[in-house]
Amino acid sequence: MFGTISRKLGGNSISFWRITRRQDGVVLLGRIVERIRGFSTVNITYIEPTGVEKEVQAEIGENLLDVAQNNNIDLEGACGGELACATCHLIFEKDLYETLPEKEEEEEDMLDLAFELTDTSRLGCQIKVREDFKGTKLRIPDDGF
């Protein structure tokens, strides 16, 4: 038996997956067509705890934890983005912070535990890159080392 699923990811990427079920019941997934990358990225900067600034091209719609980890930025994401820790904590510039979507209760609960919490703190895994993030600087809390 075969099945084909097409999924639209983000604004501009498409992936095709082919599912094959073998007679012994094993399911294989094959990516036939790689993501067709849209050119919708914006440049944002992460300021690492050491003070080093790293500018990256962030894909619109991707969350800030994934963007960081895909670009070798020193940002932990212990729970993998499931609101079960506070390690992907980022500090935003005030103007941008105020336009971000409201925090859900679960994020608020986790932020209560974050190290060096500020008034413009959010969990990176909950924030998706938008066009208007262009040029913004995100600070990773200084852990003192």
């Binding site: 932990e76 212990a78 729970c79 993998g80 079960a84 820790c85 390690t87 679960e106 609960d109 209560d112």
Partner: protein
Amino acid sequence: WKSSISVAIVGSGPAGCYTAKYLQRYFQQADENMSISIDMLDRLPTPFGLVRSGVAPDHPEVKNVQNDFSALFETEKLPVSFFGNVKVGRDVSLNEIRSIYDIVVLAYGCESDRKLQIPGEDSLEGVISAREFVSWYNAHPDYSHIDAVVSKALSSKEIRHVVVIGHGNVALDCARILAKGCSKSIGLDSTDIASHALSTLRANDTPITITIVGRRGHIQGAYTIKELRELTRLEDEGYGAIFSISPDELEFGSTQSSLKQLEKSRPKKRIDKLLRQTAARNGTLESVSPNENLVKLRFLLNPVSFEPSLTEKSKLGFVRCERTKLIPHKDIPDDGQSQIAVGTGEYVDIPAQLALVSVGYKGVPIGGLEHSFQKEKGIVQNQGGKVDGEGPGLYVTGWLKRGPNGIIGTNAVDAKETVASILQDLKDEKLPIKNNGGTAKLTQFLHDREVKVVDWGAYQMINSVETRSAEMRNEKQPRNKLPTYHELLNAAFPRDPRPV
């Protein structure tokens, strides 16, 4: 000319793993002439410490960090080597390891308990620590004996009573797992709870009342809001357990100093609000209906003794508590917030067949720490992670360094501090690079002593047995933990003819 530094980390929980992560990362990015070799030892055949044996079965997302940690051992450049089933102090001494490795980092956490030191604590059946209870339901191979204790204590055919002493997340975890495990409808089947624990908790469907007590007020509680919220949702989520808080006990704790404490802390404000909402909804302390399970969160009650049952003198029957009140702390300069709980002379006897003491984990010493181990606190004396008084090359991270506090992520910051100290000492040339054999020497020792070392590959054998779908109760169960050394080592070495 290549210089290589050998490191041994004792303990493979979050403290050990974050330490390995930052050391590995530094050397992966460093000059090709500098190299590091990291060996991580653990006395259990399985790695990850409390992520496996402490995090509650119904918190699977919290365990995701294991993926991050697994990468340490699977990476191509400078992978960490796992030495499981190797106990420092039994199979090899700390002094031996220090002689063959350039750097040793102690990350073995806290394996014993802070005690209440009240009568009956060690003599009555049915009084155990929360740590033992948690280890038991998480299938830790050293705690299967707890099964008989819990089973016996919960065997009554009349309403069963459990008292949990402490106001931290461990106490709330115990109450929640009991409530869910003893639930008549949905339970913990779809979690990785130990099979024996699941059946012991389900064996008796007589209603159960779980009372959590602590000597201070609700604003001083060490718990966090996520865990409190889970208790408020037990009823709505179908576990058939009412969560009850006394409005009076909230008021008694709302002293001026407490309110000041509240003002300065957003997390505590949110907790206060949640608890008041709960008290308004379910304010009575007695069971709503005799067929429902009940979880009560109580405050300003200080346990003063464990009392025997009237019918069976060797068993726990009551926890005698003294009502406390909060007064300003005399010795702390007036910051308006610091208080202590003092007795009022009024006593309350709370019935209990099982008491779980949850007032803190505590570290234990091993040979070679005679100058640095602080017995009272159960930690190793250190400056920024560098151990005091035992000579160069010895470091410490995690709970053994700072005490049993924080969440998994707290160890990341802690590890950074210790790694910074190590790197500074390397730069300042305060660490003699011995080139004394490291991994090869350790492997030789262990081979000569006939220790069955579980390396990463052998652990993957355990992993695949534990995640084999044929073993599962249902499709959703993520893992079926093997609860004994025998089963773990048989899984790790399937073709080994020698009996384990």
